[in-house]
Every structure is written in C-alpha cells, then in structure tokens.
Symmetry: C4
Subunit: 236 residues, 4 copies
C-alpha cells in the first residue's frame, strides 16, 4: 500500500468513525508513518466527519508538526504521539468519546469486559485512567507530553484505556484494526450494560476464547471495512 493510499484510508477512517457514531463533533484517529516509525499522521482540528486529505498533518512523536500548513491543531495530539512512542507495535490510535463507553469510565468498581465474539479485540483487561490522580483538577484534556506519557503508562500492553469522564484511547495494529476495535468497544459497552440489567450472572468471553479470536486479527481490509466505508460514502 502506498503512502497516498494509507492517507486516503485515514480520511475514510475518520468518516467511518463519524458515521458509526464512535465520534461526534470530537475525537480523532492517527496512523504511524509506514517508513518512519518516529512520525505519525493526524488531521488538523476538525470534526472527523469533515476531515479531508488536505487536513492531514505529519507529526513527530513529541507532537510537533513537520508542516502545520497554517491549520489549527488538535490540542490532545499527545494521546497519539506518546502511545506511538511507548508502543512500537501500535500503528494507529483512536481517541473517542463514544457515548456508550462513558458510563463505564465513571461507575466505580464496574469493569468493562468483552462478552461478544466480535469484541474479542478489546482484550481481557481494559484499564481506566483518571487524569486527576496525578494532575489534580484540570480541564480534563490531554494537552501535554506528561499527560500523554501518563495515559500511555496506564494503557500498558493493553488495547484500550478508558479515560474517566472523558472517553477512551484505542491502540490498533493497523487503521483497520483500530476502527474495528473502536466500533466493537462501543457495541460491547452497550450490550454489557443491557446484559447487566437482565439480572442474571453474565458469561464473558474466556481468556482462552479471546486468545483464539485475536489470532484472527486482521491488519488489512476486510468485510467490515468494505461495509463501513461504503456506508460512510467512500466510492470504492
């Protein structure tokens, strides 16, 4: 895949996240430079549904723009840069506020866990990061490298870190993988809340099942990508 195709996929991923209601006015997705692991691509400050190829900015891992192109920037780009820095395996990062996941970020002692087979990508452990623990009362935004490093440390080797009263950071092996994980994170949160209200004990995926399913994890385009991109208006 050429860099140009990859950046087109990044634009499409923005539109998918909007159309599938993972993002509303806020949220963003990045991809690591395929040839320079110390660089990544992220849109300038714009709602995901409206992002175009011209909005994409190249960054170093300290979140400095290589060429800002006169565009406003997301203040929370340290979420991306510092996860890319700490996790060489990660190729794409999504920050989102999907409504279904917020309750799990604020309800003490309630753990989000995968119960649906398409949600195996969430992994067995999903930590919750609270910016207040280290930084006290803030405007909640991840605007400094120190904030980003603290979030990346909370993420550890996992796929997802929930962010208290804010949203989540999703780490994927590819744009495709990050989008799939973010969509089914949202779906799983909704379904777990519903299942909890039915009153019976819940059967979650076992660690063994999660491991078996993660063997299938795809880094290329698949059935879901074709579907989501077409729904989001991509013409091919």
């Amino acid at each position: 895949m050429s860099l140009s195709e990859l950046l087109n996929d990044l634009v499409t991923a923005n539109h998918i996240l909007a159309h599938e209601e993972v993002c509303d006015a806020y949220g963003h997705i990045s991809v690591r430079h395929p040839d320079r692991p110390d660089r990544f691509f992220l849109s300038g400050s714009r709602s995901p549904e409206l992002v175009t190829i011209d909005d994409i900015i190249e960054y170093d891992l300290d979140c400095n723009p290589i060429d800002q192109k006169g565009r406003a920037q997301y203040t929370e780009r340290p979420i991306h840069g510092r996860i890319f820095k700490s996790r060489p395996d990660v190729m794409s990062v999504i920050h989102n506020h999907a409504y279904e996941i917020i309750p799990f970020t604020v309800a003490k002692g309630v753990k989000l866990r995968p119960l649906l087979h398409t949600s195996a990508g969430l992994g067995a452990t999903i930590p919750v990061w609270d910016i207040r623990q280290k930084f006290g009362d803030t405007n909640m935004l991840v605007t400094t490298l120190a904030h980003g490093d603290d979030l990346a440390a909370a993420l550890g080797k996992n796929r997802i870190a929930l962010m208290r009263g804010h949203g989540s950071a999703v780490a994927g092996l590819s744009i495709y993988d990050a989008v799939h994980t973010a969509v089914y994170l949202k779906v799983n949160a909704k379904l777990q809340a519903e299942a909890m209200r039915l009153g019976g004990e819940i059967t979650y995926l076992s660690d063994g099942e999660i491991a078996e399913m993660q063997k299938q994890s795809q880094t290329g385009h698949g059935r879901a990508w074709e579907y989501w991109s077409r729904r989001a208006g991509a013409t091919k």
Copy 2:
C-alpha cells in the same frame, strides 16, 4: 416463483436484514434450492447490505460450493448446511448478531419468550447453545460440520437457537418467514428487556395464543415484506 425470482428475493432479504438492523457488517441468510433439497444458496463473504445477485453461491449440505466463482466464502456456512440437513421443513436460515438479542445469550437463567403478538413466530421455546460446552475454548465461529451439527441438535424442532456471546440462528419456512421471525426476534428481545425493568410480573403469550398465531404463518410475500423491501431500496 422461478428460481431467478427466489434468488432476487434472497438478495432483497440481505438488504432488508441490513436496513432493519438485524445484521451489521456480519450475518447471512440462505435459501434451500426449491427443486433440490440437498442444495442451498448463500452469498459469498460480504456484508448483507452489499450483496448482489452475482455474489450468490450454490452449496451442498456439507457446505461445498458447486461453483465458487472465485469468491471468498463465509466461514460459518455450516450453520446453514447442517440446519437444512437436519430439518427438512426449513427452507431459509438466518445467522445474525442483532444487538438486542446478545444480552439474552449471556445472562444466565434469563429466558427470552414472546410477549408481542407479531413475535409469535419465535415459538414457545428458544434454546441457548454454547459452543464451549462441547468444543471448549474456540474462536466462537461455527466453522466445521461438527459445530454445525451440534448447533442443529440444540435447535431441535424449534424456530430459533440463541448462540452464547455470538448471536442466533433462525429457521424459517420461507425467506419471508425467516426475515419476519428475525425482525420480531430483535423487537421482542428489546421489549422484553424493557418490560422486565418496569418491575411487574410479565404476561407472555400463552402456548395457546402462540399456536393460534402460528396457524397464520405466511410463506409468501405480505404487507411487511412490501414495506421492508421498499425501505431497503427494492424498486418493486
């Protein structure tokens, strides 16, 4: 009805299941060959909303393609082949992950039962099948004939088998009947969850009512099919 018309209806059924949100990126519907009960038709691997007539593949009941046409295949086609094999009365099978039904597949001891008159097609008993019981930790997918046979055995003489942490298999007397049952399975699951939360004892349909309503079961096109197919974009 000609075979050509039947296959066009199969394509429309795929689009209806997507539009009515019974399926998302995943799920599939098959129809038995009207002249050869040892054959069935199913799309190649594609999201239901995108299926075209050219995607349809003919299979034998061991799930071997008669002519694969160079297309990728659904790995879970044993759901279809083995239900057709064990149930000569069944003419159409739907596999789906409708979000509303998932909680009932994972909440122990909570039984899904029809409470709405249009949901009488669900039948009085809806078993829950768990692949883990016989096969241990797997990737949850019904990819072998043994998996399919085990699911078909759990289905028994019923209309629906729920699949733990996964979705459901719906067995219909026609494409129309399968689609109607799958839509109102989803609706009933949603309404039963809502009713359970109101706190009073729930009045379900009685066995006698279910029997009376099933006498009306239609295998042809009806009011709902006209409505759903028009909503899904069918031009006639």
Copy 3:
C-alpha cells in the same frame, strides 16, 4: 375543509405515523366521514408508509366496505368501526404497536400515566384491555365486531386503551388530535420507563393540569402537524 382535503390529510397522517415510528409495518389510522357519521375511511391492507389516496376505502360502522375497489382489507378494522359506533365524539382512530408502549401492556400493576405537558392528551386514566379475558386463547387480532365492541367498552370515555401484548387504540377529536396523542403516547411511555429507573418518586401531571391542558386541545392543523408532515415528505 373539503372531503378531498380530509382524505389527503389521512394519507399524510399514515406517513407521519410511519416516519415518527408510531407504526412499523403494521398499524392504521381512520377518519370518520364528516357528513355521514355512520361511515369512516381507512386504507386497504398496506403498511402506513406506503398508503396512497387510491388505497382509501369507505366503510360503514359494521366494517363493511362501501366499495372495496378490489383491495385487500385490514382484518382489524373492527377496532375503528366499533369505537366510532360507541363514541360519537371521536372523529379519528389509530391502532398502533409502538414499541415503547408494549412493555406497559404486559407488566402487571404498572400504570402508564402522563408526566410530560405535551402528553396531557393521554388523559388521566389509560385502561389496559386483554382479549384473553373474554375470548380465551386467540390469535390476538381484533377481527370480529364482538372483539371490537369489547375493546370499545374497555376504552370507555377515555382517550387510549392499551392492548395486552399487542399495542393500543387511540381515539381523537380529529386526525390531528389522534396523531398528536399517538406520538406523545409513545414519547411518554419511553420517558416514564426512564424516569422509573432513576429511583425517585415520580411527579406525574395532576388531574387539574391535565384538565387545563386539554382545554387547549386543537382539532385543526398546528405547529406540530406542519413539522411532522414536512418530515414525512408532504410538500405543503
């Protein structure tokens, strides 16, 4: 308003009920003949979203068609004919299965009551009718004059009768009034369920408030009708 305008409004009302999700594939709305109180108009058997002016059939109050025009008929037209017969004040009847109201038809001892000012049209008392009480196990459909008379008796002088495991019958002073009541019946059911789950005692509208608001009840076109009809695609 001419008869022709009234019947055009009946068609628009069908489309509104579909668009606002009061009806899905099923449900219907009728209007009494403005000059002959022993007659009413109702579509032939078709989903509300698809009804056209050519589908409208004139009926007497025993539900016999004056001119069937070769069309299939709704089997549940006795809901309309027998409410018009027993309630001279009623000019329009809606039968619907709106999902939000079904839980209140099956949860014993849980009463639906208006809590939102725009829902005052529901009235202070909303009886629940169960076809099983008088007729035993049936297919749940109101297909005979005896069924219709029993439902009308349960409705009494109220605006709405819920139907167990089935839906509701809404009696309005005009097409506009019936549509407004049916929409806010659905909304109120949803909001009451949500409010009950918050855990505090609920403040419902008082009888005095309901009486004050019903003084404003409009029988003509208003702000909501303009909005709903435009959303449903009406061009004026």
Copy 4:
C-alpha cells in the same frame, strides 16, 4: 459579526437543535440584540427545523413584538424576555423538551450533574423549577411575565433551569455557547441515567474541573459548530 450574520446564525441554530434532537416539534432559541440589550430576536411560532430568516421577530424584554409581521407568536416567549432582563450576561436562551432530560425533571431527589468533560458548561448546580409551586394547576406553559420572572429567579446565576414535567431553559454567553450547552445537557442526562444503572458510585466532575473547563468557554464559532451546522444542512 454583522446583525445579518447573527440572525443567519440564529436560523442555523434552530436547524441544529432540530437535527441534533434537542428540539422536536417544540422548543425555541433566541439571541439578544447586539446593540440594544433591551431587545431580543426569536422566531414566530414554528418548529425549529422549519424556521427561516423571514420568521424572525424582534422583541422588547416584556415580550412585545417590535414588528409582528403578521406572524403567530410563541406563547412561551416570556422564558426568553425575562431571563434576558434578569441576566445581563446572557446573550442567548434556549427552551427545549429534549427527551433525555425530562426524567430528571420528575424524579424527586435525583440530581442531574455533569460527569462528561464536554458537559462542564452545565455548571455545578442545575436547579429544578416547578410552575405548580407558585401558580398551582396550570397548562404548564410559561405564558406570563410573572411565570417568566419566577423561572428566571429559579435559574439564578446558573446556566440551566430544569422545568418539571416540561423541559429546560438554557442560558448561554452566545448562540454557540447556548447550543453547545443544550446538546451536552441532553448527552449528559442520557449518560448519567446509564451510569446510575451500572450500580457503582459515580465520579462526577469536580467543582475545580468544572471551573477549569469553563475558562475555555468559547463565544465564537468552533469545531462543533462547523460540524453541527454542516449536518443540519448549512452550506457554509
């Protein structure tokens, strides 16, 4: 920004409130005259989705039209006039019945509080006003200056007053600020209800966090406005 641009934004704000489902057939938004603090602009009686520039009427703070232009008026304009009178800092007022907030207006002892960072604009305290306390049984509408003054007194120095069984009044520093607050009021209500049902103690935003975030409050156009206005059909 010229007066003409401001009024165009007022029209767009109406469309956004409809599209984002803050308003249905009912609800309205006003803006204070930028040069005459004793005047404000509000549409004539029409659903927000349908409001055009020609519908806008100028009012004094006693809610008398400067030029009624032959249009019907909202009866509840005292909500706007009397909040503008008592709160010189407020430049835009929204009255809405968003479904998600109604349960919090009727469930005794349950307090709506911001738990999501984008909802910090709601403020730390959200009072609930009940028209019945001072005026007894009414039709619930805020139709007199006395009603409006009582509501404004309940609002006090806060951003939002909930209205029992009715909706809310939102006071903003600009059209943009009022719209942003109304959208995230709705979102927060939904998420708080969901979080309460998960069973754990909820972590709300701290007073310090709210204060930090309110420092960022924007009175101009931002990322969310671009997104919402494009979704609502605005062409620029």
